[in-house]
Amino acid sequence: MGNAVDIVAERETHMTVRVWRGQGDQGRYESFEVPERENQTVLDVVTWIQQNADPSLSYRYACRVGMCGSCAMTVNGKPRWTCRTHVQKVLDGGILEIAPLRNMPVIKDLAADMSGFFDKWVAAEGVFHPTATRTDEIPKIDPREERRVEIDNAIECINCGICYAACDVVAANPDYLGPAALNRAWTLVNDQKDGARDARLAAVSGGGGCHNCHSQQGCVQHCPNDLNPTASIAGLKRETAKSFFKWRR
């Protein structure tokens, strides 16, 4: 065992990692030399720096397997889940540049404040409104039913905020609810068990609603779970457009 580690140490190659450091709006990049390993994610690199080079480095993670959506950062310019991003996949000329997620206030270093993201989730009515109680039967629902399939395509969101960081409308329009919240709202619009369809359509039709999306599709491009918020938002646009004509009648 000890031997194997020594051999690795001898041949160790390093990469240059530039890490954003700072609190609030104040900050700058700092460089670290980090040993390369065969199995190494971006989160491992960040961890290595905190454990070996600079104990004051702040970042956030929890599950380390792509389920909790806590560890997203900007890696070489792009938003990514760092626990599931192998370094070799993103290393650019031996350099790794790591910054906090875009479009959210920075708490410190690589940890961003996600509260605005979740406030909008609620504002978009991304919350189920029951029509039955625990004493009723669980409804029989055909899993192949069209609306169910629509939901299935969009439901596996881990609220990581990556799409939110990849969208320029979010950056430009502080009221814009953003792709993840709207994506969730779309699943609920299709949910036969939900009782707040009209309220939800109204919630996504205001000044920050789905109609502000310009179909940039950065959200689709970067979603680590291959979800398609653009399609969901298009769905909301369609449903609200229908209601637009209905309300007028």
């Binding site: 580690v5 390993r37 065969e38 199995n39 994610t41 491992d44 961890t47 290595w48 905190q50 454990q51 070996n52 104990p55 004051s56 480095l57 702040s58 993670y61 929890a62 599950c63 380390r64 397997v65 792509g66 389920m67 909790c68 959506g69 806590s70 599931r84 192998h86 708490i107 410190k108 940890a111 996600m114 509260s115 979740f118 989730w121 609620v122 991304g126 919350v127 189920f128 029951p130 039955a132 625990r134 004493t135 009723d136 039967e137 669980i138 409804p139 029989k140 629902i141 055909d142 899993p143 192949r144 439901i155 596996e156 969101c157 881990i158 609220n159 969730r184 609920l188 949910d191 068990k193």
Partner: protein
């Protein structure tokens, strides 16, 4: 020391299935009470409930019954479970799953006819596990999180509980001391009732599955408060943890159970299948059996380059594997492994902690005002937890705690006055490293993980356990000498690493002692020097508590309040199992 003070009525620690359910139920039952939910990470985005893959056990399938679910739980726990708790778990799960579907908005997988799809995990005699693909936890926690976010509940995110503070006269719990992690400041929150739902988490082993925020803080706090902890020797190992080498957080993360179920092979370093040397069921044997087989093979030196064994799926057809286990294959691929076509190194990995605070079926503890639910509470699973009973347990008892706390808080007119001496002592404990010279902490964490893995792990004996306890004690002493730079305490992960390690050391010591104390082999606990199960009729469970700074372990007889060994609740004409043989 300046601390911020803050009052509430109902305080909840943790936002897993237990914490979130408690918040919802408390809010529904007593909307006039102020409810505060505090968590080490972000609401709903930490802890293990979110990581649940397989699913949720509940007896709602055709032919299945609460009695059958109960019997499986008792047998799975090798007659050690608290039967009243196990019964309430199985019974209330039926209501809870309906609540999740009808009130919270979860949607679990359906059969073509629209009814719930259920499958059988190992150790179950009916198709009982409700699930959402293999991402059941994300569905449950995301939906619960939305409900809580939308309600008037005070949220203290990235607030780490570090001490349970008793009342001055000792008549109950006064409140909880936190570190507001973002600012690095202390905050004391008083409450009439406090739920501890911090989810245990055996992350003191070299290989472990739970999320990084779980470091036994809750049980360590309970221990310091003098509460009795039961079944502390019971650590469940999952056989197939990913082995990706040192220096990566991927190592230890779980590869789905279904891989073995579907016919995956475990191969030793020489490429030979070995599980049939240990058990007739081969790779399909239960978690504890497979873990032991793998451990024995590894100890015999027939290992892979990183010291584990291989899982190999390729003989089932890479395309088929890739489509059947899409998520798992993608996860491996992201990290550079080819699960569908190649071999992946695996190792048993610490997964779940059956031990916990002694509670009654209403989640009450020995201290008025403190309630415990979820993985922090002991009793429901005994010596082994069935796959699918974990999330059922946390959601069932979280809800129970919310109801009970709401009623109890209503009956109280005032908050308790804290014992300032304990408060000061807890602050001093947390500040201790800030008064020492800064040094790296990780080597010590690794030393602990090695000690626990090697000496208090899958296969145990007296000699090893004693050695393990000594190693843990030494690490604890060394930790006291290690400092953390105090120039900026805001979001200072290194300070929290220190505190994490202290919690882990405190509980590791209890695990080693309890394991040494139990001189037989039950469920997850296997003594090579005492391989027998022992007499079922005189089954006992271990109880550990700290008295004057020393941990004492005693035993208590299991009360067979519902069914005795050899008996069953199933009717005579009922089949042994409803699961078609595989």
């Amino acid at each position: 020391m300046q601390i911020e003070r803050h009052d509430t009525d109902i305080l909840i620690l943790g936002t897993g299935g237990a914490g979130l359910f408690a918040a919802l139920h408390a809010q529904q039952a007593a909307p006039e009470q102020k409810i505060t939910i505090a968590v080490k990470g972000l609401i709903g985005k930490c802890g293990c409930t979110r990581m649940v893959q397989g699913g949720y056990n509940v007896a709602v399938g055709t032919g299945d019954s609460v009695e059958r679910h109960f019997m499986d739980t008792i047998k799975g726990g090798k007659w050690l479970p608290d039967q009243d708790m196990a019964w309430k778990l199985c019974k209330t799960a039926v209501e809870r799953i309906t609540e999740l579907e009808n009130e919270i908005g979860c949607f679990f997988d359906r059969n073509p006819d629209g009814t719930l799809h259920q499958k059988a995990f190992a150790g179950q005699t009916a198709d009982r596990t409700v699930h959402k693909g293999d991402l059941t936890g994300i569905e449950i926690i995301s939906r619960l999180m939305e409900q809580v976010l939308a309600r008037p509940v005070e949220k203290l995110e990235e607030h780490r509980a570090i001490g349970l503070i008793p009342a001055k006269g000792g008549e109950g719990l006064a409140g909880v001391l936190f570190i507001d992690m973002r600012r690095g400041a202390f905050r004391f929150v008083r409450a009439k009732t406090v739920l501890m739902a911090t989810g245990g988490g055996p992350t003191m082993y070299r290989y472990h599955t739970p999320s990084g925020d779980k470091t036994m803080d809750g049980l360590a706090m309970a221990l310091r408060l003098g509460l009795p902890l039961r079944d502390m020797e019971m650590v469940q190992f999952h056989p197939t943890g990913l082995l990706a080498g040192l220096g990566t957080r991927m190592t230890g993360t779980v590869l789905e159970e279904g891989l073995r179920g579907a016919g995956g092979y475990l191969l030793n370093g020489d490429g030979q299948r070995f599980m049939f040397d240990y058990d007739d069921h081969g790779e399909r044997a239960t978690r504890d059996v497979v873990s032991r087989g793998m451990y024995a093979e590894m100890r015999a030196g027939r290992t892979t380059p990183n010291g584990g064994v291989y899982i190999s799926m390729a003989h089932l057809g890479p395309d088929k594997v890739a489509s059947q286990f899409k998520g798992m294959v993608k996860r491996c691929a992201d990290c550079g492994f080819d699960l569908a076509g190649g071999r992946v190194e695996v190792v048993p990995t610490a997964h779940y902690f059956m031990g916990g605070v002694v509670v009654d079926p209403e989640t009450r503890t020995a201290i008025p005002g403190l309630y415990v639910a979820g993985e922090d509470a002991g009793g429901a699973h005994g010596s082994n937890r069935l796959g699918g009973n974990g999330v059922a347990n946390s959601t069932v008892y979280g809800g129970v705690a919310g109801d009970v706390m709401a009623a109890d808080a209503r009956a109280m007119t005032s908050l308790r006055t804290p014992d300032e001496a304990v408060l000061e002592a807890e602050i001093a404990r947390a500040r201790h490293p800030l008064t020492r010279k800064a040094q790296p902490i990780q080597p010590l964490r690794e030393a602990l993980m090695d000690a626990m893995w090697e000496d208090v792990g899958v296969l145990r004996d007296a000699e090893g356990l004693k050695r393990g306890a000594a190693r843990v004690a030494e690490i604890g002493a060394e930790l006291k000498e290690i400092g953390v730079a105090d120039d900026n305490l805001a979001f200072n992960l290194t300070w929290h690493d220190w505190l994490n390690l202290q919690s882990l050391v405190e509980i590791s010591d209890v695990i080693a002692r309890a394991a040494l104390w139990r001189e037989n082999s039950r469920g997850a606990h296997y003594r090579e020097d005492f391989p027998e199960t022992g007499d079922l009729e005189s089954s006992y469970f271990t109880v550990a508590r700290q008295v004057d700074g020393e941990t004492e372990v005693t035993r208590e007889a299991v009360e067979f309040s519902i069914v005795r060994p050899g008996e069953t609740l199933l009717k005579e004409d009922e089949a042994e199992t409803l699961v078609a043989a595989q």
